[in-house]
Amino acid sequence: MKAALLLIILAPLAGFLINVFFGRRLPRAGVTAVAVGSVGLSALLALFVCGAYLSAPEPAAFEYYTVLSVGGVTIPFALQADALSILMLFFVTFVGFWIHIYSIGYMEHEEDYARYFSYLNLFMFAMLTLVLADNFLLMFVGWEGVGLCSYLLIGFYYQEKWPADSGKKAFIVNRIGDFGFLIGIFFIATHFGTLRYEEVFAKLQADPGAYLGVAGIIALCLFVGATGKSAQLPLYVWLPDAMAGPTPVSALIHAATMVTAGVYMVARCNLFFRSSPEAMAVVAVVGALTAIFAASMGLAQTDIKKVLAYSTISQLGYMFLAAGVGAYAVAMFHVFTHAFFKACLFLGSGSLIHACHTNDIFEMGGLRKVMKTTHWTFLFSTLAIAGIPIWAGFFSKDAILASVFAFAGHHHGWAYLLWGLAVVTAFMTSFYMFRLYYVVFGGEYRGKGHPHESPTSMTLPLVVLGGLTAVVGFLGVPVVFHLPNLMERFLEPLTPAVEGLAGTTFHLSHGMEWALMIGSVVVAGLGWLAARALYRTDASWTWVKGFTARHPRLYDTVFNKYYVDEFYDRTVGAALRGVSRFCFSIIDGVLIEGPVNLSGFFVELTGNVLRFLHNGNLRTYALHIVLGVAILLWLVF
């Protein structure tokens, strides 16, 4: 087990090192074998570790070496396998492996094939370090590591402006979040004297009262980190631009795995959040607002990847909403189901872009006939994200809505408002996803050329992930069906009941659960029907066109994402540029350098005067001596 965990993270690292140093000299098949083989090995070992854990569900931590130990701060390089890590480990390696397979076909014509795969492997290494770490600092190492890979892969097509700028933007916005995370780590190190999860949480559990104030501050600091990595308000702005990267990267990093790291972190630290109702409320409110805000922006996008990007932000909002009302297992369940359907959606969009050579959905159309596999898998995952029964998103989203409702009923009346927002978001989600579906697959083809289905290396992952979207939901069946909720049971050790801390589950009557479930299905169905009415055939668009023509300002505002980027640029960006110019030109240039150069000038001046006196003429010197003596005599007498 100890060796297996280490090998899981080292295999992709080895793949990265081989391809980064020798990739340009290796044949393509060699690059592929190294990259896919290393991740395949990780995935197999992950299955082994998962199996071992399921047969004996005991958390285990293994220390490999001490990174540093100074002044009471000890950082071990140690990995752990508990329920939460195992869950993440499983889907990260599984989805990661299939996206590597998909990339073989998608990046086939790419000149920098080896560079692409080396980055992808490095990402797997960092992501697995993040989820397997047994302490906050090692998690942070992985956390920044995935940020680096995100930067490298968004900017993969570095010669073009948009990718090059977007990569930088992603890194910087994430750094703002990481700043909060770091402060949180400082608080933990100072108040707990250790950074290992086990020790920190044991102390907190033993005496929650002793940490009440500081735990809330820690929770909020960590949450700032989560808003960066998981693209929540107000730091979500980097994710839509992250779409500048190759599409499989969007699927792996910017949909299925890395962006859910924030949810993982909040779930991991649930004891901190549960110490502070205020911190939980912040998480819930930010989640709900992000969910609806991003969903509304998704309504008007025409770039297929942008639609999916906003939907990702919105779904991540759902996850934080769940975490904010204490339903951590439910949040993780949605992380899990989302990984499958959103990865499938992005890979599907990659297949479409590959075929049509455009990102604009209005230049596609009618593709259900020519791209059968892509069509069916895309439909499956659309059903899943919209929350149509038996598909995965239905189970997890229904569980989120029910948790919020129950939380609101349990002395937190204000949370009904969040529930309302979440329901409206569900409607919007269903609407913009089916809008996408009908515009792309319905009607007639409007683009140039002759699109055709993608190669098997791309369709096979679609089939695997698309098929699973109809399966994985059953891991978390609601109680009213009288079937075991496997996911909840699996994640039970994550949220121990501690006296003095907020609870994590609230009871609902069976009748109310049924009502909520039916309600959420109706809402999703309405969204679907509305999209169908407006977008099913090319002819049915007339109403939408008329509407946008009648309300140009509304449409422009939504289409331009409420001008948030522009707002940031004119406030934060302008302030920084102004301060920078002021420091350089005024403080450095005038206030400090002025006196320095002035004194230099006076020294020079004095030098010139003295040089005039020291003219080397003996008679002048004699005159000086005489003058000096005369002055002295005059002074003395």
Binding site: L68, V70, S585, V596
Partner: protein
């Protein structure tokens, strides 16, 4: 003979470069290859010797390899040198950077080759002596010895504004060292009037034993001298000029080692000798460090000259170092000393790579580049890794220094540490913007299309710097274990005496 060597390891270490410089004087000036080869061999031998010391060093044994011999007996001044963990790291850094600098200068320096190498060798003796001296007078001599070669390196082999930059460097530093010299004499005189004996041993002043009120002026004199060297805000304006005008090798040593002498001096003199004055001025020193971190970063945004940007980034990074020193916790001071090494490696590597670009395009303006990643993939990859190390990416060296400084500072001054931590955002902004402007995007200038990537010699230099960057990033404990006892000892002197 062998015995003579092992008993005088530090003397050999210090005077090997000076002896080589003397030998170089007999080389014919036209034998450029021989001069370079000889200097490279000597500096490589210096590196081996430093590694040997590292291997023989025992972390818990305090000052070791000590040598003590009367020098100017009339004033009771001694040849007194010794090495603790802190000086060990500084010696390693110096002797590691030297061969890299010599090797990297081969193509760039074609005029006055002999003088150039003599200057660097004398400089090395000055730096090593300063790090190892345990006698006040000896320290001062070595400190002054460094000044002259550096002045000539900037003034003779520098860029267009080299004379202005060299004079500015000289005057700033000379003002500082003059104050320091007065403070040394004053302290020795005070001790003489109290005990009737002349004592120049640095240890004897741990602490100085002066009354709180009398500590103020010597403390300020020492600290100002070192603050100019570091440089701390607002004494930093000599640095951008000196860095920008110096040849690449000069910039590497200036940023890599000379700035560290300021921080080293604070840790050796300002902090353990004057606890009362230290306590009195601590808020100022912590505050100025904080200002340096943010101010240095902000000024970086406004730069169009890549070399100047890196120069100003040193103000920000050294702000972290002084913050760590004056936070006075074991973690923060350890982080500060580690960060001195890290900054030497990262900024040294950045200057090396900027030198590579300059050699090819004879410009340092970022607007003249753009899209270099296509033509110079290896240079780009190396620059990116080094920039990331400078930004403090975990897994590379810079992170651990910053982390320890901040976590240690947080224990003493939470708000200061929190504000300082925002520096990690700003460093990402200015360095990634520079990377974006120079290496990414489309190629906008015709001249940039046919550039040659790193040759073997340049690759060796850069790769040599990358090895410790990654190694410290993965296993910082190795170096930290060697410095923590010395730091805890220093702090134990201060802590009890601070009011």
């Amino acid at each position: 003979m062998a015995r003579l060597l092992t008993d005088h390891l530090l003397s050999v270490l210090i005077f090997l470069p000076a002896a080589a410089a003397a030998a170089l004087a007999f080389f014919p000036g036209r034998a450029k290859g021989a001069i370079r080869g000889f200097t490279l061999a000597v500096t490589a031998a210096g590196l081996l010797l430093a590694v040997w010391l590292l291997a023989a060093f025992r972390p818990d044994a305090g000052f070791q390899f000590n040598e003590w011999a009367p020098w100017i007996s009339y004033f009771n001044i001694h040849w007194f040198v010794g090495m603790d963990g802190i000086s060990l790291l500084m010696v390693l850094l110096t002797n590691f950077l030297m061969p890299v600098v010599i090797l990297s200068s081969t193509r760039f320096i074609t005029e006055h080759v002999k003088a150039y190498h003599i200057a660097f060798l004398l400089l090395q003796t000055g730096m090593l002596g300063s790090f190892l001296a345990l006698d006040f007078f000896l320290f001062y001599i070595f400190w002054e010895v460094m000044l002259i070669p550096m002045y000539f390196i900037i003034g003779v082999w520098g860029g267009k504004q080299r004379v202005y930059a060299a004079v500015k460097f000289f005057i700033f530093t000379a003002v500082g060292s003059f104050l320091m010299f007065l403070a040394i004499l004053w302290m020795v005189a005070q001790r003489y009037s109290a005990t009737g004996g002349l004592d120049f041993a640095i240890f004897s002043y741990y602490p100085s034993g002066l009354a709180a009120a009398s500590q103020v002026w010597p403390f300020l004199a020492f600290t100002l001298a070192f603050a100019i060297k570091v440089p701390m805000f607002p004494f930093h304006t000599w640095l951008p000029d000196a860095h920008t005008e110096a040849p690449a090798g000069g910039s590497i040593i200036l940023a890599g080692v000379l700035l560290k002498l300021g921080a080293y001096g604070m840790l050796r003199f300002s902090i353990p000798m004057f606890p009362a004055a230290l306590a009195q001025f601590l808020p100022w020193l912590v505050g100025l460090s904080l200002v340096g971190i943010l101010y240095g970063a902000w000024v970086c945004f406004a730069q169009d000259d890549l070399k100047k940007l890196i120069a100003y980034s040193s103000v920000s990074h050294l702000g972290f170092v002084t913050l760590g020193l004056f936070a006075l916790t074991p973690a923060s001071v350890s982080g500060a000393v580690l960060q001195m090494v890290n900054h030497g490696l990262s900024t040294g590597a950045l200057f090396l790579l900027v030198g590579v670009l300059y050699e090819r395009r004879h410009t340092r303006m970022m607007a003249d580049f753009g899209g270099l990643a296509k033509t110079l993939p290896v240079t780009t990859a190396l620059f990116l890794v080094v920039a990331l190390s400078s930004i403090g990416l975990p897994g590379l060296n810079g992170f651990w220094g910053e982390f320890l400084i901040l976590v240690g500072t947080f224990q003493a001054h939470p708000w200061t540490a929190a504000v300082a931590a925002s520096g990690v955002i700003f460093s990402a902004v200015y360095l990634l913007t520079a990377v974006r402007r120079v290496f990414f995007g489309p190629v906008t200038h015709e001249e940039n299309t046919g550039l040659a990537d790193l040759d073997l010699r340049e690759l060796i230099c850069a790769a040599a710097l990358l090895v410790p960057i990654v190694w410290i990033g993965v296993y910082p404990k190795f170096l930290l274990d060697r410095i923590t006892p010395a730091i805890e000892h220093t702090l134990s002197i201060v802590k009890g005496l601070m009011p």
